[in-house]
Symmetry: D2
Subunit: 172 residues, 4 copies
Amino acid sequence: MAGSVNKVILVGNLGRDPEVRRLGSGEPVVSLRIATSESWKDKNSGERKEKTEWHSVVIFNENLAKVAENYLKKGSKVYLEGQLQTRKWQDQSGQEKYTTEIVLQRFRGELTILDSRGGAGVDQGDQQGADGQAREGDFGNVSPMQRRSAPALVGAGGSGSRYSQIDDDIPF
Amino acid sequence: MAGSVNKVILVGNLGRDPEVRRLGSGEPVVSLRIATSESWKDKNSGERKEKTEWHSVVIFNENLAKVAENYLKKGSKVYLEGQLQTRKWQDQSGQEKYTTEIVLQRFRGELTILDSRGGAGVDQGDQQGADGQAREGDFGNVSPMQRRSAPALVGAGGSGSRYSQIDDDIPF
Amino acid sequence: MAGSVNKVILVGNLGRDPEVRRLGSGEPVVSLRIATSESWKDKNSGERKEKTEWHSVVIFNENLAKVAENYLKKGSKVYLEGQLQTRKWQDQSGQEKYTTEIVLQRFRGELTILDSRGGAGVDQGDQQGADGQAREGDFGNVSPMQRRSAPALVGAGGSGSRYSQIDDDIPF
Amino acid sequence: MAGSVNKVILVGNLGRDPEVRRLGSGEPVVSLRIATSESWKDKNSGERKEKTEWHSVVIFNENLAKVAENYLKKGSKVYLEGQLQTRKWQDQSGQEKYTTEIVLQRFRGELTILDSRGGAGVDQGDQQGADGQAREGDFGNVSPMQRRSAPALVGAGGSGSRYSQIDDDIPF
DNA sequence: TTTT
DNA sequence: TTTT
């Protein structure tokens, strides 16, 4: 439809480490499980109550997938923008199921790490500085402090060469 | 969780008339089915392609539910803000199913009608003018032009009295 | 600062035709003046009141600038996303002034035309279809119905060749 | 104008402590100065570059003003939503000036504290729990850990009674 | 399964 | 004036 907008904005924490699968090209596609929650004081009982919502996020955006793979882990707090997408699938018994996910398509979406130490903002528009000059291959300002504690584990099947390529791209 | 955000922004069109059910208190809860879509030209075939995404929206916000009930219909274009919520249910055969909806909770969310004639902005914060004076009971600027063509049908089970009460509330 | 977000979302109407200036490269930079407004019923006087806010928008994003140049005009309704930027300048008398604008940087921001006839969505991520295949040069789904009424006037200083180049890019 | 949206979303840090002034009613109006910034690696020089943008925020929303007054301080990181508003004023020399601010009107806007320890989410819709029950007077889930280090200084001109009233409202 |  |  002409003239439509489909946007999700989340600020929440990863419930587990990112899951990475690779396309034929070797590019990572990263899945995240993000929790958001609300809490309030029940007016009758006076108790604190809390409700957590879990969100499934899939990152096809190449640069953001690399960042997620390399700098996020269980517990990380992020800001992200994606779009809603519902897909149909069949379970083992042939039952039809629907799953709604927040998808960051290629060249789309945003991801910003919010953890206090090593937090870093990254989004797909970061190919350009405030000076208006485009900078291809530059994908943002991820701080090394944010690096996952076990970099050797970074990237399922990831090779050192891929990782150093990221070192070239990431500006630090 | 402290410090989280769960927000969906949609601009799209209703695929069918709003569905209204009533709480014990008589307040409407309105369900919408909203389409958003993207189109692009396939680089290989040169064909125009389009993909439509359908979204289920549930409006508990009392004022916005009244507006949806009375001023939206199949084809209407809206801007809306709500939050993602996934609920579990069982179909007739006892199968577990999950449905993800965009929910506008009581006192939360936004809904703005974007149709060219009679479009009108309404949101829950509209209890106050630009002058900073609170105005309870005032819920926005819905134009009569936007009224559904068959007001007699407005509101499943709705009575004339309820409708005129809305007339008191809606500022026109 | 690591971990920051600076985003403006507007739905409003152009108060005048887009203003286009050209960079040395010939790329258009387009300025828009957008009105948003709120209305409410004054609780004391019972009068309808309305307050309009005017926003200055500057589009450096190349594809979106072309769309704005060619498909927007006074009165057009748009959805747009950009970022806040305040710049300092001096008036003729040497007085320091500050102007805050909503900027759509290169490769960033979104612009979607919302007018009922010929409305069309365009954003910088539209280089890729729902199939996940990137499509460079494709910048969205602008409908010919949306074309400004006087295409001969399109593009200050614009040549026919540039315009037909747009015809190649725009998918219709 | 019917059908418009005027929304700003910021994630950033306070450059200084909140400034509080009081309305005749004693209600606080809080001004914040928020920094957002982007950084990138210059492709030519290879240097890290950074550009910071400063935003002026004014909070009329009563509950959010109290939270800002009591729980934010220089350096705090927040997520907030408000609307753009430009006002005209005259400096001492009679010169006309314009200032653009992000305003959180009464009953509108959102504010969520993002600091890692003691971070807390608060927004004006928090008068209701996930159970859909409205809870007046409840304005969110601010953690005591987030309290400013010198609570005695909290609230310019604030009395102990006002502060304990907040203690009643804030759910901890 | 996160976070506070 | 913040933050990394």
